[in-house]
């Protein structure tokens, strides 16, 4: 029950926000709606017990790509033109692409999702996996089990690659001027210098 409510909530949020992405006048708003749609898609995946995928979704799409979009949009500093008059101009092209995708989706759904043969019998939705009730791994747990035992070396090497990437980014962007330490100009020392105290007797 709660599952269904959550599912419908998130999917309606997803639909609404993705609709807003293409209709919002301000580019920044549409990127923010994109982030919202990513988030709701990730929570839908979470509901479907694909925890790892949903977290990766949030990390990569929200954390990296959408933020990149946001930076680009903010850097370009787009004016918001009134685009109401030329909305219909894109209609044919959009209609073609949309209908192609719609037919693809319909074909896939008709191919893969069959009606439940037990729908009208007593056994409707009677399937319970008892092993899940006793002992269950979540997806992240099982991935972690494999990564920390079987592929521990690869995990460490991947960590080293990340460390190297951090180091490389720092090296290529840091600006260390050695002059500030060794060759600074101390003016009063220069001014107070005369020929008597230049030579130092050891």
């Amino acid at each position: 029950m709660i599952f269904n409510i959550l599912f419908y909530t998130f999917s309606s949020v997803l639909l609404a926000s993705s609709f807003m992405v293409i209709t919002a006048q301000n580019a920044v708003y549409s990127v923010l709606f994109l982030v919202l749609s990513f988030l709701s898609a990730a929570s839908l995946l979470f509901l479907l017990k694909c925890e790892f995928l949903s977290l990766v979704f949030i990390l990569i799409y929200v954390g990296a790509i959408a933020i990149l979009f946001l930076f680009v949009v903010m850097m370009l500093d787009l004016k918001t033109p009134n685009r109401s008059e030329n909305n219909l101009r894109y209609f044919p092209f959009g209609f073609i692409i949309g209908s192609v995708f719609l037919t693809e989706i319909i074909l896939v759904i008709a191919e893969t999702f069959k009606t439940n043969p037990y729908k009208n019998s007593v056994l409707t939705n009677f399937y319970v996996n008892w092993y899940d009730k006793i002992d269950v791994f979540t997806e992240i747990q099982s991935i972690g089990q494999v990564v920390y035992t079987q592929y521990v070396l690869q995990f460490l090497v991947a960590g080293n690659v990340l460390l190297l990437a951090t180091l490389a980014a720092v090296v290529l962007t840091i600006n260390t001027s050695v002059k500030s330490n060794n060759k600074t100009q101390i003016i009063f020392k220069q001014l107070s210098r005369n020929y008597k105290n230049v030579l130092i007797k050891m």
């Binding site: 070396l153 090497v157 690659v161 190297l164 490389a168 290529l172």
Partner: protein
């Protein structure tokens, strides 16, 4: 658990010491406002490389404990030797580039940490035993190479080189990754050992696999029949019939040829559900052939004046015809369409019945020959025949055949992708376009490092993939490698003629040398592997010597601190620095392959292995191109000694450490020329143990 997996001890040590060095240097730098600590970091990194090489050296190499961590990591003699060589090379590199780095004012301590990361990646690459580890190791080393190329931030060339290297290297890595993911999709594993076990036999010899598989199967089954008929004849103990057995075998082979012909036609072969029908018809045809052939046999027996058999043969033929008529009668009921024999059910039934007919008929033959003893064998025979036919029907299910062949083609596709990805890394000719720009633009110490050190490790990976696990596909990948060889030797020899800069000259020299080593890689014998390793060792050490001399000759009037050298910057070095010129000349002769030097021995060995595996054309072209390539080495020697200029160039004096190292490298090459047995022994052991 960790102590059980002691095999990765050197890599663990190197990785941990890198992290310690990072922490140490970062804290030191941040607290003291970036002091100049390159020298101390350099010595620390040399120390850590030395210790990890020592750990490698002390490994027992027990055969039963070679691999660890679920067989993803292997430390056999191959990786042992290549790690030792790479460690030594990198120690030399680091010590030689010290003066250059101080001179060029590369003040960041991270330079050496990046080199250490690259060495860790190369060590891991040497002993990677699956695609996952290999890919991570490649990424580790090539990421640090990109940064090493772009390290001189105030030079446009260096940044340009870094970006070019990054884009093309990422492209190559993605090729490699795509190939290995295809392999994973087809076979369900990424482990080299598993691949080796999967493709152990002499499986897909030729190019047209589908038909070949079928042909092999047919041959196998035909062997059974031939054996069985021979056994039959022997058991009948009719000496006269033995001649006919030869005829028989010929006939059989004819039959097989016809079968193969029939099955070869790809057009009418795999159609959806009618395939079975085709097959059945083919089998029916062959059964007709057998009937004919048995009639021939009977006739030949007739010729041998076996009066008794004559009668029986007549009876037999009558019986046969009768039986067939009867069969037709039986299978001609009202519900069966008489003419259309195309339905599966009919055909299957007919097939089964015909097999029974032949068996019956052979039994009848045996009975008529009146050898009671043979009756038992005939029963066995009939069982064999029925088994054989079942097996045939099982084998010729066309779905399985198609599945098989598609997967084999996909594996070949993936192997080509992996080859391309790795060829990008070792700069062979169609994939070399990035190399001159990157090598010229990046700081000379970085160029030094990534032109000398990483080739050996990537060759070890190539050996592991293409010799250890996919050797049964040798026929399909070697053509590709041979094409690349010819192309890269030609490009390396002719491209070097145009160059006026020393660095790009050395780049083209590298390209042609990689071509020579790929010759022996494509030859596919033990001797070729031996020559490959010895060539790579000699190439690395002589490259080390050349680049050291490049770094050491530091011009005094060089105001711009330029990273490249014209060829004329070395003019009259023979007058200004006599010993250095002699060293340089000797090493250049060795690289060019002049007879008394070690370079000649290994190059000749490579040409010999090419000719041993009948690659005469490749050997001819590469010998001719090597003659052409000699020109630019000799031109360099001419510039060193015989240029008609009155005044040479002035150089900064060479410090003690560098002169000791260069002298050591020179004497190493001399020693290898006096006594090449050491090199050949090591590489012989290496080549024998690649396959274990």
């Amino acid at each position: 658990m960790l102590f059980k997996e002691i095999v990765i001890f050197s890599e663990l040590f190197l990785g941990i010491s890198i992290i310690y060095l990072v922490m140490h240097c970062t804290f030191l730098a941040v607290q003291n406002k970036y002091p100049l600590i390159q020298t101390s970091v350099l010595y620390l990194s040399v120390l850590s490389i030395f210790f990890s090489v020592y750990l490698v050296f002390n490994e027992p190499l027990n055969v039963l404990e070679l691999s660890c961590l679920n067989n993803t990591f292997i430390n056999d003699y191959t990786s042992f030797l290549s790690k030792l060589i790479i460690g030594n090379l990198s120690v030399f590199c680091l010590l030689m580039m010290q003066s250059y780095i101080l001179n060029q004012k590369i003040n960041n301590f991270e330079y050496f940490l990046l080199i250490l990361f690259a060495i860790l990646g190369l060590f891991l690459l040497c002993s990677a035993n699956d695609f996952l580890t290999a890919y991570l190791a490649i990424e580790l080393q090539s990421l640090s190479f990109y940064v090493l190329a772009a390290f001189k931030k105030n030079s446009t060339f260096s940044v340009d080189a870094g970006i070019k290297y990054f884009i093309l290297g990422a492209f190559a890595s993605s090729m490699f990754l795509f190939g290995s993911s295809l392999l994973y999709g087809v076979t369900g594993t990424v482990n080299f050992d598993d691949f080796r076990i999967l493709f152990m036999g002499d499986f897909p010899k030729n190019n047209f696999i589908e038909d070949v598989d079928l042909a092999i199967n047919i041959l196998d089954t035909s062997k059974i029949t031939i054996d069985f008929i021979e056994d039959l004849l022997e058991s009948l103990e009719c000496k006269k019939v033995l001649d006919t057995s030869e005829i028989l075998s010929e006939l059989l082979s004819y039959k097989i040829d016809k079968l193969v012909d029939i099955f070869y036609k790809p057009g009418d072969f795999p159609k959806n559900s009618i395939e079975n029908v085709d097959l059945a018809i083919n089998i029916l045809d062959t059964s007709k052939i057998t009937i004919d052939f048995i009639e021939d046999l009977l006739e030949s027996l007739e010729c041998k004046e076996c009066k008794k058999v004559l009668n029986t043969s007549e009876i037999l033929s009558e019986l046969l015809s009768y039986e067939i008529d009867e069969l037709v009668d039986i299978y001609k009921p009202g519900d069966f369409p008489k003419n259309s024999i195309i339905e599966d059910v009919d055909l299957a039934i007919n097939l089964l019945d015909t097999s029974k007919i032949t068996i019956d008929f052979i039994e009848y033959l045996l009975e008529s020959l009146e050898c009671k003893k043979v009756l038992n064998t005939s029963e066995i025979l009939s069982e064999l025949l029925s088994y054989e036919i079942d097996e045939l029907v099982d084998i010729y299910k066309p779905e399985t055949v198609n599945f098989y062949s598609d997967n084999i083609n996909l594996i070949k596709f993936a192997l080509v992708f992996i080859l391309i990805g790795l060829f990008f890394k070792i700069t062979v000719a169609p994939f070399h376009i990035w190399a001159p720009d990157v090598y010229e633009g990046s700081p000379t110490s970085s160029t030094f490092f990534f032109s000398v050190v990483p080739k050996l490790a990537i060759f070890v990976l190539l050996l592991r993939i293409f010799y250890y696990s996919f050797f049964s596909f040798v026929d399909s990948w070697r053509h590709f490698v041979v094409l690349v060889v010819i192309f890269s030797i030609i490009v390396g020899s002719f491209g070097g003629l145009e160059q006026r800069k020393l660095k790009s000259l050395l780049v083209y020299s590298t390209i042609s040398h990689m071509g020579y080593s790929l010759i022996s890689f494509s030859a596919g014998t033990f001797e070729s592997l031996q020559m490959l390793l010895s060539y790579l060792i000699v190439y690395s050490f002589s490259g080390l010597c050349v680049w050291s001399i490049f770094l050491v000759t530091n011009l005094k009037n060089n105001y711009f601190q330029k990273q490249n050298k014209d060829l004329t910057d070395l003019v009259l070095l023979g007058k200004s620095n006599y010993m250095l010129a002699i060293f340089f000349t000797t090493v250049l002769f060795s690289i060019a392959g002049f007879p008394p030097m070690i370079g000649f021995l290994v190059k000749m060995g490579i040409f010999l292995t090419a000719m041993e595996s009948s690659m005469y054309f490749v050997a001819l072209i590469s010998i001719l191109c090597s003659v052409i390539g000699t020109f630019y080495y000799i031109r360099l020697i001419k510039i060193l000694y015989f240029e008609k200029v009155l005044v040479g160039k002035l150089y900064y004096p060479i410090n003690f450490q560098n002169s000791v190292l260069i002298t050591f490298l020179f004497f190493l090459l001399l020693f290898l020329f006096v006594n090449p047995t050491l090199l050949f022994l090591i590489s012989h052991k290496f080549s024998l143990l690649v396959f274990i």
